[in-house]
């Protein structure tokens, strides 16, 4: 029963048989041809055919997913029209007498290499596009039929592949695909974008070996958490079915109400309901689901799958786009949270026996203050530019995995240095930037009264706080059932954190899964949690639930919850509560 933790790429839950999909690559041998004119004619016909296929795919994508997705294939077509590329092909075939397939490979590859050397993710993705087009032309040279669409599967499947090009993804009908999981790629790859647009759950970068997975095996795919479970137990299956139902119900939650604020029915308490995001697209979806801001902007994607540090300019560009989308709404940006569980050679992460207790996140500051300083600089520049353009950017910076007051003090110094340097260069700066920490290590919760004066806010990361408080590795299935954020020990730490912050006039958010759990709403409202941060799609449901409770009723529930000694009792009790 292997379980693979990948990156969530498109929300939702799929349960069904796996289908191992292997892309068939066209192979070729390089040779000199006797009749280059005939070869060139064939190549021209193949290009024409590829052109026709792409026009059909563009239409198919427009119907299945929308204009934005159709544009992928339109771009492919533009590549085929490129006069420089065509001139290259012409020379290779007519003058160098190269066979058509080899010419296509070399000509496209020259551009793909040039794009890959630019390093940014955008160009990497374009390089993949080029290779996709090259494969298409080569297939046309082999005389593949004119109908490039539609694979047939007897029943709907979870598509399992090494990597999928947009052309692969679009081959399937929406009804045939329950979910998509790939061993490579990220949440911003084309297949992930297509999956989201088609409303298909997807997971990327799941660490499986394709040869270990057999087509037909029952699997569970959770596109919201990134978990891919092959051959689940009956119990897991039951849980997944329930989660799937809940998820679908949530999805149908009234979006019309999403824009309204989350005020308790007695008007005594208002919570801010915000989104956890990890990309520009997430920010857009957050707005659609009525987010009042961003409570957790994960920035790891900027650092993964590349060979050198993202430059400041590159970071500024991404941050700016998120700030522009969010306008004057608050955006809490979490600085880099990477450790030994990910291989990032240029940062110097190493395989460690306990990566979650190791050299990660804010702990890098002693050896690598430059990483944080660059990020501060980029964030300030981006917020400054957006502000200078007339939108008051409400940037809030948040440090992950803080366990000691000294870390906050050191980070503040680095932050001030970055700010002073920008000021000296005459760069525009945002008016006010809040500075806060994640409370996810028990020591930070226990010493919350010492941390509170040093920061503007706390954000409780309940996933890690649970793992560290209960000494449970969440990824270890033999013990993961023990990891409940409803454990009274965790609840007490949450209560302590909120009380200490409020005593110092600071606000507290919560950005773990607990914030988006409907069950926890009265508990967290009762504890007077100021900000709930969750996956964008959960926002309408949670807002709706908050509105159903009175502050007084919620406070009674919270008080009761804190009296129990078992997580199961807390859950049992909460399940029995109705809004009052």
């Amino acid at each position: 029963m292997p379980r693979y933790q990948g990156l969530p790429a498109s929300p939702g839950i799929a349960i069904g048989p796996a289908l191992v999909y292997r892309t068939q690559k066209v192979t070729f041998t390089e040779q000199r041809v006797d009749d280059p004119r005939a070869e060139w004619r064939q190549l021209q016909q193949a290009i024409q055919k590829a052109h026709t296929q792409l026009t059909a795919l563009e239409e198919r994508a427009r119907k299945m997913a929308g204009d934005e997705e159709a544009a992928i294939f339109e771009a492919h077509r533009l590549f085929l029209d490129d006069e420089e590329l065509l001139a290259k092909l012409r020379t290779m075939v007519l003058e160098d007498r190269l066979n058509a397939k080899a010419a296509v490979h070399h000509a496209f590859e020259q551009y793909a290499e040039a794009l890959l050397s630019l390093e940014e993710e955008y160009f990497q993705a374009r390089a993949q596009d080029l290779r996709d087009v090259a494969q298409r032309v080569m297939k046309c040279l082999e005389g593949e039929g004119d109908n490039p669409s539609v694979e047939n599967t007897p029943e709907p499947v979870i598509l399992v592949a090494e990597d999928l090009t947009p052309s692969d993804t679009i081959r399937f009908d929406r009804e045939q695909i329950l979910g998509i999981v790939t061993a490579r790629g990220g949440p911003t790859s084309h297949s992930a974008i297509l999956a989201r647009a088609m409303g298909v759950p997807a997971v990327a970068s799941a660490p499986f070996d394709l040869s270990d997975i057999r087509s037909g095996t029952l699997a569970i795919l959770n596109g919201s958490t990134g978990l891919f479970n092959v051959g689940p137990t009956l119990h897991e299956l039951e849980v997944a079915r329930k989660e799937k139902e809940e998820w679908e119900a949530r999805r149908q939650a009234e979006l019309s109400q999403a824009e309204l604020p989350a005020v308790t029915k007695d008007g005594a308490f208002r919570a801010e309901v915000v989104a956890n995001i990890g990309s520009i697209e997430d920010a857009e979806s957050a707005i659609r689901f009525g987010a009042e801001g961003v409570g957790l902007f994960r920035t790891e994607f900027l650092y993964l799958q590349r060979s050198s540090m993202p430059t400041i300019t590159e970071q500024v560009r991404v941050y700016k786009r998120v700030f522009e989308v969010m306008g004057e709404r608050p955006v809490v940006v979490r600085t880099l949270d990477i450790g030994g569980d990910k291989e990032v050679p240029y940062l110097g992460t190493e395989k460690e026996p306990n990566p979650f207790l190791g050299w990660r996140a804010i702990r890098m500051i002693r050896e690598r203050p430059d990483v944080l300083e660059n990020q501060f600089t980029a964030l300030l520049q981006a917020a400054g530019q957006v502000t200078a353009e007339g939108t008051h950017c409400d940037l809030r910076i948040m440090l992950p995995m803080v366990s000691s007051v000294a870390e906050v003090e050191r980070a503040r110094e680095v932050y001030e240095e970055a700010r002073t340097a920008l000021q000296a260069q005459g760069k525009p700066l945002p008016a006010k930037v809040q500075f806060g920490i994640m409370v996810e290590v028990p020591s930070a919760a226990l010493l919350a009264d010492h941390f509170a004066p040093l920061v503007d806010f706390f954000s409780i990361g309940t996933n890690d706080l649970t793992q560290y408080t209960l000494a449970v590795d969440r990824t270890n299935e033999r013990v993961s059932v023990l990891a409940s954020p409803y454990h009274p020990a965790v609840l007490r730490l949450i209560e302590m954190t909120i009380k200490a912050a409020h005593a110092h006039g600071k606000w507290v958010g919560l950005c773990g899964e607990l914030a988006g759990d409907p069950l926890a709403v009265p508990l967290l409202v009762g504890l007077r949690l100021d900000e709930f941060s969750m996956a964008p799609s959960s926002i309408p449901t949670i807002k709706d639930l908050i509105r159903q409770w009175s502050l007084k009723g919620a406070e009674e529930v919270a008080r009761e919850c804190l009296r129990f000694s078992l997580a199961a009792d807390v859950i049992e009790y909460l399940k029995g509560q109705t809004p009052r």
């Binding site: 533009l78 794009l115 080029l130 560009r317 957006v386």
Partner: protein
């Protein structure tokens, strides 16, 4: 020969939609048009080739030199300047 130097202000630089617009505009004119990224060692690119423009890697804030030679060279440069200065037809301040 007509030439000019411009700074790209669009957040996407000369990629994606702006690149496509740029190439489309260049393709309307019969003259030879090249675009070169300033402060880089890359050779000038054919402004009518999307792949060549893309591989220049022009980002927001980068400056480029546009050179047109032949029939309607002035008109071509004017059209490209107008496109870039109009921020590729998008409002300058992004939506908020």
């Amino acid at each position: 020969m007509v030439s000019t130097t411009l700074t790209i202000r669009h957040p996407a630089g000369l990629h994606a939609r702006p690149a496509a617009q740029f190439v489309k505009t260049a393709a309307r004119f019969p003259c030879k048009i090249t675009v070169r990224k300033l402060n880089s060692e890359k050779p000038p690119a054919n402004a009518k080739s999307p792949l060549s423009v893309l591989t220049l890697g022009v980002n927001q804030g980068d400056s480029v030199e546009i050179i047109a030679e032949g029939e309607q060279a002035q008109e071509a440069v004017d059209a490209l300047v107008e496109l870039v200065q109009s921020n590729f037809g998008e409002p300058a301040a992004a939506h908020s």
